[in-house]
């Protein structure tokens, strides 16, 4: 186990978390934010998909387009002492980001509102290709730049972005590159170039969340290849929802082959106060066999993940779902494994 005092990404201030739909990337982003916010560090958790997932996970009112303090960071029992920092959240809406952007860089007051009347804001935020992504990533850039010398707005030690899913992540992060190509000069070109420089810098990593199933693992491999192609920095792979590891290798083999001694199991059950009829013993052994089969498939996928040659972290499947308490448990797991 790595030493929890030396995390794997010491210089990174922008953690971008992506993953195939349904693998739990928002959960992982939230847990990572809590983990990063231990020891006095302040972290900003951003969402860009308009789902209000952060508000639901942290059990707070729906978030406005405004940085809000939502939680206290993880206090890690195994790490050195110290007060945990705070987690802030920002729900980035493209429309508000556009107006903010216009007033910040161009001082467009009346004209900004007129744009809205003409359907320009709608065009920019819902229809125009990539403009939405440009605005969302522009806001991330603005927040990330505050960590430098310029003293505008609250400064954060790290930013975690709950990003679009793996299938769209390269497009999302690369949109400024394409924009810089289309706008050959002028303010847009400069802004786009700056954002790409940040995304490709050593300050940034893109983590990918997967589960140990064929399609998500394949998509993760494809995603990593695409990110590398666009020279975007690949971080770690977080393997989510790993099945319980209660049976060891020998027991799994026995469960699969059906060589577990049924009389012994029945005797154990009776000794523990459970009325062990044949039906119950058979049911337990069937569950054991199915579990062993799935574990074998998981192991095959785990090998593929290991072959991706990036840092990997594992989080357990939580049968009762993920509530706020569970987020802290997952955060502690990530911290112990050195992700934060």
């Amino acid at each position: 186990m790595p030493d929890p005092t030396t995390p794997d990404w010491p210089r990174v201030t922008l953690h971008i978390v992506t993953g195939k739909g349904g693998t739990g990337k928002s959960t992982v982003a939230a847990a990572l934010a809590l983990a990063l916010a231990s020891h006095g560090k302040n972290v900003l958790l951003c969402e860009v998909e308009g789902r209000q997932g952060i508000a639901r996970m942290f059990d707070v009112d729906p978030l406005p387009y405004e940085e809000r303090r939502i939680a206290t960071g993880l206090t890690h029992p195994d790490g050195p002492g110290g007060t945990p920092g705070k987690v802030y959240a920002l729900h980035i809406e493209p429309e508000a980001a556009l107006l903010e952007y216009l007033s910040m860089y161009y001082r467009l007051g009346r004209a900004g509102r007129a744009l809205d009347r003409f359907g320009v804001t709608e065009f920019a935020t819902t229809i125009a290709p990539g403009v939405r992504d440009v605005l969302l990533s522009g806001k991330i850039y603005e927040a990330a730049r505050r960590t430098g010398k310029k003293n505008t707005g609250r400064q954060y030690d790290a930013i975690v972005l709950d990003a679009p899913p793996t299938g769209r992540i390269s497009q999302f992060l690369n949109v400024n590159n394409e924009l810089a190509g289309l706008a050959k000069m002028g303010p847009i070109k400069n802004q786009a170039d700056n954002i790409m420089t940040l995304f490709r810098s050593r300050q940034t990593v893109v983590h990918l969340v997967t589960v140990l199933e064929e399609m998500p693992v394949q998509e993760t491999a494809d995603g990593i290849a695409q990110l590398r192609e666009h020279r975007l920095p690949v971080g770690g792979v977080v393997v989510n929802r790993v099945r319980p590891q209660d049976l060891d290798r020998g027991e799994l083999t026995a469960a699969r082959k059906g060589t577990i001694d049924t009389d012994e199991v029945a005797a154990d059950l009776r000794s523990a106060g459970v009325e062990a009829d044949d039906a119950l013993v058979t049911a337990l052994l069937t569950e054991g066999r199915e579990h062993a089969e799935r574990r074998a498939l998981e192991d095959a996928q785990r090998k593929l993940v290991a072959g991706l040659d990036v840092a990997t972290y594992e989080l357990p499947r939580l049968p009762t779902g993920v509530d706020l308490g569970a987020l802290y448990e997952l955060a502690a797991d990530l911290k112990t494994q050195g992700m934060a």
């Binding site: 693998t23 004209a111 744009l115 003409f118 709608e122 229809i127 289309l182 319980p244 154990d268 106060g273």
Partner: protein
């Protein structure tokens, strides 16, 4: 002293006894009904829409329907097994479909860029089409316009439907929807795109290209001023050229989008909402169900994929945990304790999933539901699709 064996019992309580149970979705009745002409599978990303669409199409074909399935982004091996790994935007027959019932199955994978190009080519004169297809803006933007995927899926659906009406090539079209941010995008995006294309902003961009500035009001000059300040004059000019080039196509876009929308509202269409037994996926499904109602779109039912297999042993999770802990206290490596923990874990998972489904059913009691248990392997051949089909039909 050994504790006396206790009688195990199933858990009863307010949750277990609440009687809300969704009506069962009869998949075979839906597939066999000759009145069902279009089935649209929608839902949030990662819930198994593509596999479900393919499984439904195969089952319908093997029950005697002449089926075409339109998929968006199938897993590579599934695409290979259906013979559609090549993107050529034309339905191809799927080999090894059982034809005893007189049915057939074609499949195609939608190529966004190509469909867009086809629309341009069919809607503009050859010179104009060539001009548009070579415009750098068009090349960069045509496949990434938000809503393009949804729009093009509808466009292709309309095309195939018209063709099927004419030559009788198909009597059932199964459509998989794009992996959108929200399932609602499938319904909203085409309308958004076409209303935009008819909107003021487009007229604004076209105004200078059309010569006399009859729209040149005071407000307008503020706008163009603001735009060129933000975008740069050159950027704005390029964009205007692009928009002007596309202008001729816009009327056609809108008319066809409206036609396809009407097709979706017709009686022959059936929407199936696909979800996983997770809070987010079911919430999306609920939004979608409500939205279909508002738009008078015919909803056939809900498919809940990847449900955990229900443990058969009549032992509650808590009892299993307690017994496991007792065994572990005596022997930390007890195999039986491990089995009991697994049983508890599985029971809790299934209990939670059942609770989520009951809540959905309580809010939407009219929605017929089919629950498909999780398979231990991914589906990448026809045999796997058949198995999913059996499970969908309740077998």
């Amino acid at each position: 002293m050994r504790p006396a064996p206790r009688k195990t019992r199933t858990r009863v309580g307010p949750l277990a006894s609440s009687g809300v149970q969704a009506p069962r979705l009869d998949i075979d009745a839906l597939l066999d009904d000759p009145g069902t002409g279009i089935i649209v599978c929608c839902g949030s990303g990662g819930v198994g829409k593509t596999t479900t669409s393919a499984a439904l199409a195969l089952r319908a074909a093997e029950r005697g329907r002449k089926v075409v399935v339109l998929t968006i982004d199938p897993a590579r091996r599934l695409a290979q097994s259906m013979g559609i790994e090549e993107l050529d935007n034309t339905p191809r027959p799927v080999a090894k479909v059982r034809k005893a019932g007189g049915g057939s199955l074609d499949a195609m994978m939608l190529d966004m860029k190509r469909t867009f190009d086809e629309v341009v080519a069919s809607g503009a004169s050859p010179e104009k089409a060539a001009q548009i297809l070579q415009n750098p803006f068009y090349i960069a933007l045509s496949s990434s316009f938000a809503g393009t995927q949804e729009y093009m899926a509808m466009e292709k659906l309309g095309q195939i439907h018209r063709q099927a009406e004419e030559d009788g090539s198909y009597d059932l079209i199964v459509v998989d929807t794009p992996p959108s941010r929200s399932a609602l995008d499938f319904l909203d995006a085409p309308e958004r795109l076409s209303s935009f294309l008819d909107g003021r902003f487009i007229r604004l961009l076209l105004a200078p290209a059309r010569g006399p500035a009859r729209l040149m009001t005071a407000g307008l000059s503020v706008i163009t001023g603001a735009l060129s300040k933000v975008l740069g004059a050159q950027f704005l000019r390029d964009m205007q050229t692009f928009v002007a080039a596309l202008d001729t196509l816009f009327g056609g876009f809108r008319a066809r989008a409206e036609k396809t929308f009407a097709l979706l509202q017709a009686d022959g269409t059936a929407f199936l909402v696909v979800a996983a037994p997770e809070p987010d996926a079911l919430r999306e499904a609920a939004y979608f169900v409500e939205r279909l109602g508002e738009d008078r779109m015919p909803l056939a039912g809900l498919i809940v994929n990847r449900a955990g297999p229900t443990p058969t042993g009549a032992l509650s999770a808590d009892e299993a945990m307690a017994a496991g802990a007792r065994l572990r206290g005596r022997d930390p490596d007890s195999l039986t304790a491990g089995l009991l923990r697994l049983h508890a874990d599985q029971s809790r998972l299934v209990e939670r999933e059942a609770l989520l489904r009951r809540r959905f059913a309580a809010a939407h009691p009219e929605v017929a539901t089919a629950v498909v248990p999780a398979l231990s392997t991914d589906v990448h051949d026809l045999a796997g699709l058949r198995r999913i089909g059996d499970l969908l039909a309740g077998g």
